[in-house]
Symmetry: C2
Subunit: 228 residues, 2 copies
DNA sequence: ATCGTCGGATTGTTGAACAAATCGCTCAAT
DNA sequence: ATTGAGCGATTTGTTCAACAATCCGACGAT
């Protein structure tokens, strides 16, 4: 075979197995992603190429490539000739994001999944309960994300997985405002539990409906926080 | 306001209204996308930076940025230190792509849509019929894509729209093989018709089920063509 | 207050350079 | 015959410096 085994079915595995050091651009992107998630860079903030290049000790061109990555993930917006800014989501975007989540998550749960995938969902539920018992709001938030990530993972679709994680990354951008209410996720614990048991019982349609109603309620709350 | 109206709800409109010449990198990416769609660049083919830079009369760095765009869209795969190659999808990817389509399209049609959006779906159906009458296989294919694009558009979600067009772009990559059978789409005309009328009648669940079965059959055919 | 104009700062793009990695080949050793 | 080391050519990854184009804010004229 003259062409290397590019993509194809085994690409995911190959990419995962391949021993490769992430490029500098990738590491810059990762660093920025981190700062984004930590709320160090607030929505609307400007990212100046030269500044970041100096701060991270890399070339401006490399920063540029990193920006391209982040822009593709919608974490950042590029205004031609004006610069890149941390994406800020308005009410319309909140609805849009939830529309995507409804599509992805409901579809995944409706199709069910292998037992070990279902077990992963259960694990996320327990993780949430533990976090609640420990009064660890931070852990509660990540547990919630694990829960929804596990639901998408039911579909065993590489593309759906990345779409979901991108959407979750987008949401983290404005969660920093939302979590002023410390008990934000607490109310969803029972939802998750109920959805999970329905899933385990094979009542997929019911699980889907529950999930759907959860997402609707969640969207409503988020919209409220976001001055709709 | 110190920060420019970045993103937020009105970003889509702003981006659409803004008078901006696409950057050189964008134009390079567009050109490559075109060649990809035309089948000029076959899956597995290598894209050498310097060659393309010369051919299009741009800098190698600019080509690099274009590659980043295409890689984000999965049209191209980047193998570290080895180069970028036209993505080639294996049987697993076919299933994956259809999983995404099921999620997006079914979700969109189940939620229904504004009358003018439904009308757009109808228009795509008629477009397909006209193409069939004219024996224009090319037009038949694009009409089919318009149909499914219109279905997703029902949801009025910017993100779902771009996800769908990316998936369709991915599919075009291996449609070049699939369309050896000239009557490929012909059989789907009746499906589209039926789905559309169900949609117009407000029978959303039925429309969803029909669409789902269509996608399953379509996947099966594609998998068969792709040496499963 | 509104409207040009001008200067500074930042982005977009280029071209050249160099280290590092990969590939294909030769050639010797087993 | 196969393996493996070595080597040269090619290509990618990254940096740097430069320049045009664009944008922003301030300043000044009306």
């Amino acid at each position: 075979m003259t062409t290397p085994e590019v993509a194809s079915g085994s690409q995911a595995a190959a990419a995962r197995l391949r021993v490769t050091v992430p490029s500098v651009a990738d590491r810059v992107a990762a660093e920025l992603r981190l700062q984004l998630a930590e709320g160090l860079l607030l929505p609307g903030a400007r990212l100046t190429e030269s500044t970041i290049a100096e701060d991270l000790g890399v070339s401006r061109n490399t920063v540029r490539e990193a920006f391209a990555e982040l822009a593709a993930e919608r974490l950042v917006v590029r205004l031609p000739n004006r610069g890149v800014f941390v994406a800020s989501l308005g009410p319309g975007d909140v609805h849009d994001v939830y529309t995507v989540r409804r599509a992805i998550e409901v579809s995944a749960i409706r199709a069910g999944g292998a037992p070990e995938r279902v077990a992963a969902v259960r694990a996320a539920v327990e993780e949430g309960k533990a976090a609640a018992a420990a009064d660890d709001e931070e852990a509660l938030g990540t547990a919630n994300q694990h829960f929804h990530g596990a639901i998408v993972a039911l579909a065993e679709s590489r593309r759906l997985d990345t779409m979901m994680s991108q959407v979750l990354a987008e949401m983290r951008l404005f969660f920093h405002k939302a979590t002023v209410d410390a008990h934000f996720y607490r109310g969803y614990l029972d939802d998750n539990e109920e959805i999970c048991t329905a899933l385990e019982a094979g009542e997929l349609d019911r699980a889907g409906s529950l999930l759907l109603s959860y997402l609707d309620r969640s969207e409503e709350k988020q919209s409220a926080v976001h001055g709709d």
